[in-house]
């Protein structure tokens, strides 16, 4: 075995030992200590060795069952199958949209902008990245945006890296706007009882404010690059040729696929009202609409149904999520999170505003190095424990959502979108973005966005 892997395993055992000692000091019983160790192992695995994380999660869940820390019934309950099914349904739908050319069609909208200037281009890619990340998952949306940016920058013979950075920043901000943008959105919605409408009326406007603040900043930040692009645009702009860069044949498939997607979004948007009308449990429709759409897609294109399930669904990630949810549920089940919640409350001296700030900034900085799903999964049972202590939870859920998504902008490994986008840039154009170059813009924009959110959550009555 590779030596570095052995060192990493030694480090893992050392860290887990540390968790055990901290647990002992906090007064954990043996079962609670074991639950904390198993959950931490999954978290550290995402940090230290990505390829082993699923193996570690498998072993962890087995140990929890064999040692009777949790029983089978509760394990299944905590694994949040509803969230996993929702994500599967959306992935099938996105697989269809890719295939019928939906994203290429969106990209062609940029090419049709009349009298394109660098500023208009920044606004177009910023807004499109953010809106796309609201409607489908951020990884799908960033791949299309980066592909489009590379093609357009090639056409004008300019360095694409500022525009790739802008698109990534906008994508992570945009993914807070609805429950669809990031897995943590649907996770928070399903655990907090917040509806799609809550997201549209409360998260979406705040997302737009952050987006436009950050876009004005990057217009200034990359002014030299924009000047160069403006010059090239004047030289080489020939709309006829430019529009031909990427095209989509107007086929019936695209229209039909768009119809299904539109109805899905509409259904999800109205889920709460429909649930009230049909006297369904909260979020029943939110979670089943993607399944209905995916089912319809697989009837319509039955020849490819197997391909959608096998190729378009990210099983590696989803199975890890499922086991991680179960691990985190065990923390709640064994009351570890209650102890942590009490400890945190003592730390902030029962102050709600301090608690809000703490959750917002910890989730932001935490998700700049950790997978934000891992972080949010750890936070959810702790926040649920605050309810038992008699606190209003809504602002805390929003803090978790915004911190977890926007924190991804701080470092270049902060979110999957960053890693995917920079990977393409490096492979296709041999441009490697330096850690510090990213941190300068990423940290600045994130601190500004998070501060805006902090103020809004503290002072605007709708978030209370």
């Amino acid at each position: 075995m590779d030596k570095s892997i052995i060192y990493k395993f030694i480090l893992l055992f050392f860290l887990l030992f540390l968790v055990a000692i901290i647990g002992q000091n906090m007064g954990f019983n043996p079962q609670q200590t074991l639950a904390a160790i198993i959950f931490s192992a999954s978290v550290f695995a995402t940090l230290l060795f990505w390829d082993f994380r699923l193996a570690i999660a498998f072993l962890g869940v087995a140990i929890l069952l064999l040692t009777k820390v949790i029983d089978l019934e509760n394990l299944i309950k905590f694994s949040s199958l509803e969230v996993i099914l929702f994500l599967i349904g959306m992935m099938v739908l996105v697989g269809l949209l890719k295939e019928i050319g939906f994203f290429a069609w969106l990209v062609t909208l940029i090419l049709r902008i009349k009298k394109l200037t660098a500023k208009k281009f920044v606004l177009a890619i910023g807004i499109l990245s953010a809106l796309l990340a609201c409607a489908v998952d951020e990884v799908t949306s960033i791949i299309f945006m980066v592909a489009a940016i590379l093609e357009i920058c090639d056409y004008f013979e300019v360095d694409p890296s500022p525009y790739v950075i802008i698109s990534v920043l906008a994508t992570n901000i945009g993914s807070t706007g609805t429950v669809l943008g990031n897995p943590i959105g649907i996770l928070i919605a399903s655990k907090s009882g917040l509806t799609f409408e809550d997201f549209i009326f409360k998260a979406f406007p705040l997302m737009l404010i952050c987006l436009f603040t950050v876009l004005s900043l990057v217009i200034f930040w990359f002014r030299k690059a924009h000047k160069e692009l403006d010059k090239k645009m004047q030289e080489l702009m020939d709309n006829e040729l430019f529009i031909k860069l990427i095209s989509v044949p107007p086929e019936k498939q695209l229209q039909f696929g768009l119809g299904i997607f539109g109805l899905t979004i509409l259904g999800i948007a109205l889920h709460h009202r429909l649930e009230l009308l049909f006297k369904l449990e909260t979020n029943t429709l939110l979670l089943s609409i993607p399944l209905i759409s995916a089912g319809l897609v697989m009837i319509w294109r039955h020849n490819k149904a197997r391909k959608y399930i096998e190729k378009d669904v990210e099983w590696w990630t989803l199975i890890f999520f499922l086991l991680l949810f179960a691990n985190a549920g065990t923390l709640k089940y064994t009351a570890v999170t209650d102890i942590i919640a009490k400890g945190v409350l003592n730390l902030v001296k029962q102050s709600h505003s301090l608690l809000l700030g703490l959750i917002l900034w910890i989730s932001a900085f935490g998700s700049s190095i950790l997978d934000n799903v891992v972080l949010v999964v750890a936070f959810i049972p702790i926040i649920q424990s605050f309810r038992d202590l008699g606190l209003g939870l809504q602002p805390l859920w929003w803090a978790l959502l915004f911190g977890g998504c926007i924190g991804g902008n701080i470092t270049l490994i902060g979110s999957t979108a960053n890693i995917v986008a920079l990977g393409i840039l490096e492979k296709e154009r041999k441009i490697k973005i330096n850690f510090w170059r990213w941190l300068a813009i990423g940290f600045t924009t994130s601190v500004i966005s998070i501060s805006i959110i902090w103020l809004a959550l503290l002072f605007l009555p709708i978030y209370r």
Binding site: K98, E99, I100, G101, F103, A104, V107, I143, F144, V146, A147, L150, E151, D154, Y155, E157, L241, K244, L245, I246, S247, V248, P249, I424, K427, E428
Partner: protein
């Protein structure tokens, strides 16, 4: 029938130190989709095929973006083709090669081509030395001859 009875011996290999430009010329002249690559000591070190060239010049995200239709060739292809000028065969070849022994049955080699999506397979003798290559055409031809569809 054994594969050694039908393999092509005349086109053997190219050097890993050859430039990509020269190597591509050889492929086009010989009208063959790929060639084995050997190092200075004559050891088989890789395969250089049309696929490597296409992968190097086309945008890598094409597979991920589904239908992304170009009406014109993107400029990147021209630029990437230019970059190939400075590369040698060893920079581009794939090293994870499938080889077969000269005593392998023809049908087995055909099956390997289908399952591993290969067009050319290098053939080795008992001492693991390269003795020739086999293409899909060679295999189909041998069966067509056996069936009497074409003359040997």
């Amino acid at each position: 029938m054994k594969i050694k009875e039908i393999l092509t011996e005349e086109v053997k290999s190219i050097s890993s130190q050859l430039t990509v430009k020269e190597a591509l010329k050889v492929l086009l002249e010989k009208k063959i989709s790929g060639l084995p690559v050997v190092d200075e000591s004559g050891k088989l070190v890789g395969m250089f095929t049309e696929k490597e060239i296409l992968t190097a010049i086309l945008p890598g995200y094409l597979g991920k973006v589904g239908r992304f239709i170009y009406e014109e060739n993107p400029k990147s292809i021209k630029n990437k083709f230019k970059e190939l000028e400075n590369l040698k065969v060893k920079d581009l070849m794939h090293k994870d090669i499938v080889t077969v022994d000269e005593d392998t049955a023809v049908c087995e080699v055909g099956h390997l081509m289908l399952t591993q999506k290969l067009r050319v397979i290098p053939i080795l003798d008992k001492d693991k030395k390269l003795v020739g290559i086999v293409t899909r055409e060679d295999i189909i031809k041998s069966y067509a001859q056996e069936a009497g569809w074409i003359n040997p």
